[in-house]
């Protein structure tokens, strides 16, 4: 039996999940101090709950929390053995069913992309079918490329065939094509924030770009892997807002880490430029919560701008301006008002939307040649995401900073982006990068 639940905000989704599972782990959103207090409380009450029966499995919104061991092959290996999943089925076979190749299965979990982590989580959940009575799958489409949605269906089918309950927890606007599409609320499709977004040109150039992941011998033998970006030379003018799409694990996140300077290419060079501003892009990561470094928003601003008071003041003003803009738009729109966004009504509770805005404000204050939003839709419903992205682009463009959005959900940004970068798999280790200026160049 499959149920679908829709939520307007991530916070509501988590509330529902903790009510249903009675599992309410301490979270880091309120900073290390509060977290450590709550963690201590959890730790001392842990033994009391140890004997409780657990018959549910959950695919959490952050795939990192679905996995307990350092390698996919171990992760699924334990599950297969423990749950005595289909006699004779090896963990590698099961992973292959969920499109995780042998070489990927032997790579460290820490080096996998978000989408790959989710697919490993699916394989693991499939192995646990025998010893669980129900599964909760939270917001899976935000990590998964649409071409991989059939694997979500495969997981649901495995549970349904075994007469187990499946609950899909979607954030409003998430579409899962091919499954009960008539149940999807149409509210977000009607929403248009009416923020005029102009186009800012920026330039990307690279030649002979390659990244190599050497073979590792310890703790587990990890195979050699490389990504060879094609064409060999590219020098393109594209227009912000720009959308970057591509399959799970194709190398998008590593590419933007090279744009940011966090990862150095093993070969070749990559540069970005906007209106004479050249240098490293700033990046809002996919799991952006971690970028607060375990601090509260205020503490984060205080530490980062401790030795640049002027910019610190500007960043705080920018953060407040973006938040005010959101509140203003919520108050003007009946659809948004119905969402009852905590971020728009209550300044005392920290929400994921506020955290993302604070991190964006800090990044914009460094006036980078490009701001990258890696899966900004993570943990945001479609309408809230549209609001967030529109407000960020509006403020970034005022500061002459172009914005690059990485997402699998092309539909969510169809009315926003001016140019599109697309990554497709080539032969062997190569990845083809193509761009489309959506008619801007010919115009």
């Amino acid at each position: 039996m499959t149920h679908i639940e829709y939520f307007n905000t991530y916070e509501e989704l988590l509330d529902f999940l903790s009510r249903e599972t009675r599992f309410n782990p301490p979270r880091l959103v309120e900073g290390s101090s509060k977290f450590l207090g709550k963690f201590t409380h959890w730790l001392f009450s842990f033994e009391d709950t140890l004997s409780e029966d657990i018959s549910w499995k959950c695919i959490y919104p952050d795939p990192n929390f679905n996995l307990s061991y350092p390698y996919p092959v171990d992760e699924v290996g334990v599950a297969v053995l423990l749950a005595e999943f289909t006699a004779g089925m090896e963990s590698l076979d099961l992973l292959k069913q969920f499109e995780i190749a042998d070489s990927t299965a032997r790579r460290e979990i820490a080096t996998l992309s978000g989408g790959e982590l989710l697919l490993v989580s699916f394989a693991k959940a499939a192995a646990y079918t025998g010893i669980t009575s129900k599964i909760f799958i939270c917001s899976p489409t935000q990590w998964l490329h649409p071409s991989k949605y059939y694997l979500l269906q495969k997981l649901i089918d495995i549970y349904e065939e075994n007469q187990k309950d499946v609950t899909l927890l979607f954030l409003e606007g998430e579409e899962y094509k091919g499954y009960s599409s008539h149940l999807i609320p149409a509210a977000s499709a009607q929403y248009d924030p009416k923020i005029p977004l102009d186009a800012i040109p920026w330039n990307i150039s690279f030649n002979d770009l390659k990244i190599v992941f050497e073979e590792q011998l310890f703790p587990k033998k990890t195979p050699f892997h490389e990504i060879n970006y094609q064409p060999q030379n590219l020098n393109a003018e594209i227009f912000s807002p720009t959308l970057l799409t591509g399959d799970n694990g194709i190398g998008k996140s590593i590419f933007v880490k090279m744009m940011n300077g966090m990862v150095k290419p093993s070969q070749g060079s990559l540069s970005i430029r906007c209106l004479g501003n050249e240098g490293a892009a700033r990046l809002l990561m996919q799991d952006s919560l971690d970028q607060l470094f375990g601090e509260t928003i205020d503490d984060h601003f205080s530490r980062v701008f401790k030795y640049d008071k002027e910019r610190g003041k500007n960043a705080k003003e920018l953060f407040q301006a973006m938040l005010d803009r959101i509140k203003e738009m919520v108050s003007e729109d009946a659809l948004l008002r119905n969402l009852k966004l905590i971020a728009a009504t209550d300044d005392t509770l920290v929400t994921i939307l506020q955290i993302k805005l604070a991190l964006v404000a800090e990044r914009l204050e460094s006036r980078p040649p490009l701001l990258i939003l890696d899966e900004p839709d993570w943990c945001l419903s479609r309408m809230v995401n549209r609001l967030f992205v529109s407000v960020v682009i509006e403020h970034a463009h005022r500061l002459k900073v172009p914005v690059l959005i990485i997402s699998h959900l092309e539909d969510w940004y169809a009315e926003i982006f001016n140019s599109k970068l697309e990554f497709t798999r080539g032969t062997d280790f190569s990845v083809n990068i193509s761009y489309d200026n959506n008619g801007k160049l010919s115009a």
Binding site: S32, E75, G77, L82, Q216, E295
Partner: protein, 246 residues
Amino acid sequence: MANYQLKLSEVKPTWFKLLILIFIGLPPFTGWPLSRFMSGNYAVHNISVWTAYGVFIWLFTGLNVGGKQLLKYLSVAFTASLLILMLTGVFSHIPFLNPEKPADESLALSYTSAMTFVIMIAVIPYGLFAINCFSASAYVQTLQFQSGKRFKFKVHLALALRVCQHVGDVLMKLFDIWREENPRLIRPRFATDLNESKLSFIGYILWFKNAVVTWCFALLSHTFEAIPYFSEEMRIVINHKHQKIK
């Protein structure tokens, strides 16, 4: 180094592997057998003995993990050792913690610091190697076929092992985040006031101290954040085992 790889992590049974690791790692805990070569009067001689042990232990670790992994372990060891040495140095100059000391005591302090540094850079890579020699997943898999005796304790042990290994993953992730925020790593991205100040060195020391504290809290809380999820996983193991026994 890769051509001559030792595979201690694959040694079976596990208790024998543990015995080898303990035997090689004995000197930092007991002093033996290095104490036999030490001399009470010659500081340089004693440090040399520890350095020789350090070289041996690096070589042993390197032959097991490969050159690149050894370099990663060494970078962690040098960073941690230098930080501790610097903090010890700062604390030793705080008057109320250290009332006036005679010159020979200061000399003794320098000797102790140098010795601590050498021991730390020798032992940390070995410690990291030793922790990663054991696989939490393989251990949990063996629990499946064991009797119920002290089962819960063994599951807790597996959880503890996994949490220790998880520190490495968190460290990598936080390092990426830190580098995005501060591309020069040991200088803040936003440092206009610091550069213009006449007391910039003091400001920098304060920034550095803050960074260390922030890192410690972040490392602790990000590592702990995953523990409830790990423990839920372990609870499934326990429950399933109990049901099978019933």
